[in-house]
């Protein structure tokens, strides 16, 4: 669509209306039929399954077709805790998803490591993949997850297709990290009650 502006030379009423129409149409269709890739690991996966079942029903949001192949999915819902052993797996799955893709981090463990501030747990999947929506809870109620999904819808509908910086692949850098190490250390620091948990006796 970029060429339309160059043909006309500048942004005018027609191109603005056209771009907002295209944005509206495409974003609506994307948001209203997000195919989730349920990367379910632990308890949150059970709440995700309960959300997909009859009582709360993800089908009304167009999400009943759960893509277990990342190549055919739109949103990666990381439902559950992510240990270090699983980190390369989610990274690979994220890399395998085609653009446009979004990530919902469901639950406290996926967002920050949750109650597992120890040697085995990634302190938040955002150290490994970029996250769009964080849904807190342990586990979040299905209503909570639905609220998170609606928040993602809102985010998608506000996107601008013509923004070249938006749909860009965030790859790992040469050291194999997504963020600079100081930032990872900073966001992984213990907080709250965890701060006192150094001694075992």
């Amino acid at each position: 669509m970029k060429h339309l502006e160059t043909v006309n030379g500048s942004d005018n009423w027609l191109t603005t209306k056209l771009t907002s129409l295209v944005n509206w149409a495409v974003n609506q269709s994307r948001a209203n039929s997000l195919w989730p890739m349920p990367f379910g690991t632990a308890c949150c996966a059970i709440e995700f399954m309960a959300t997909a079942a009859s009582r709360f029903d993800l089908a009304r949001f167009g999400m009943e077709r759960q893509a277990f192949s990342p190549r055919q999915s739109d949103v990666l819902i990381c439902a559950g805790r992510l240990p270090f052993k699983l980190a390369p797996v989610i990274r690979r799955i994220y890399d395998q998803m085609p653009q446009p893709k979004w990530v919902i981090s469901m639950g406290a463990c996926a967002s920050t490591g949750g109650i597992f501030d120890n040697y085995a747990m990634v302190q938040g999947i955002d150290t490994v993949v970029p996250v769009d929506v964080y849904v807190p809870g342990c586990p979040p109620r299905p209503e909570g997850l639905l609220y998170g999904i609606l928040m993602l819808h809102k985010k998608i509908k506000g996107e601008d297709l013509f923004d070249p910086t938006l749909r860009v692949e965030h790859l790992l850098d040469d050291t194999g990290l997504r963020l600079p190490p100081e930032q990872i250390d900073e966001i992984s620091e213990p907080f709250g009650n965890s701060v006192q948990q150094f001694r075992s006796a």
Binding site: K85, Y119, V128, I184
Partner: protein
């Protein structure tokens, strides 16, 4: 008191150490050299018949002077009796006990887990490698008391190591032997496969 305890003392004499009976449980400490014979005797002798292995685990105490214990929980389904056998090891010494995988097949994964978490080697185990952490995990043995709760490395280093797990960490060496790509493996890996060396990251420095 579980009648097996005095029977053990009668049969094995000095190899049987402390016998404790508390809270309805009988705990027998056995010398390391005799433990395999003791366990086999308990399984095979008529009148004992501990045919069910409930659990194999290890305990390390906060008191640095106390021994690290390897614990077998046995059960006789017929007589509904439980028995706990312990072996004491020096925590900073050589942690090695015989494996009982040929006596009870359920011991296979349980012993692998004790190896993974404590570093205790089970001699005679068919496939002793890490089970809960990845095979080339370099931080140590997590459930030891000198292993800090959050691990030895910094968080960013842990993320980096996790994301860049050595390709051998994805597949066990015997799986790689099955695969068609065996011929494509680098010579160094095939070497390690032949030697059975599993617990080192190559070129890790």
């Amino acid at each position: 008191m579980n009648p097996s305890a005095p029977a053990l003392q009668a049969t094995f004499g000095n190899a049987i150490g402390r016998v404790v009976e508390a809270r309805g449980e009988t705990i027998v400490t056995v010398a390391k050299g005799a433990v395999r014979d003791v366990l086999r005797w308990l399984r095979d002798t008529t009148g004992q018949e501990y045919n069910y292995l409930v659990d194999v685990t290890a305990v390390e105490y906060r008191d640095r002077e106390r021994a690290l214990e390897v614990v077998w929980n046995l059960r006789s389904l017929g007589s509904r009796q439980d028995l706990r056998i312990k072996v004491e090891l020096a925590p900073r010494g050589e942690l090695e006990v015989p494996s009982v995988t040929d006596l009870w097949a359920g011991a296979n994964w349980l012993e692998r887990e004790v190896f993974d978490m404590f570093g205790v080697r089970f001699t005679g185990h068919p496939d002793l490698r890490r089970i809960l952490m990845w095979e080339t995990y370099a931080e140590g043995y997590p459930l030891r008391k000198d292993f800090p709760l959050r691990g030895r490395f910094s968080r960013s280093e842990q993320v980096r190591q996790a994301l860049n797990v050595n390709p051998e960490g994805h597949y066990s060496l015997e799986e790689l032997a099955i695969a068609e790509s065996y011929d494509e493996l680098p010579a160094e890996m095939r070497d390690r496969l032949a030697r059975g060396q599993r617990d080192r990251i190559p070129n890790s420095e």
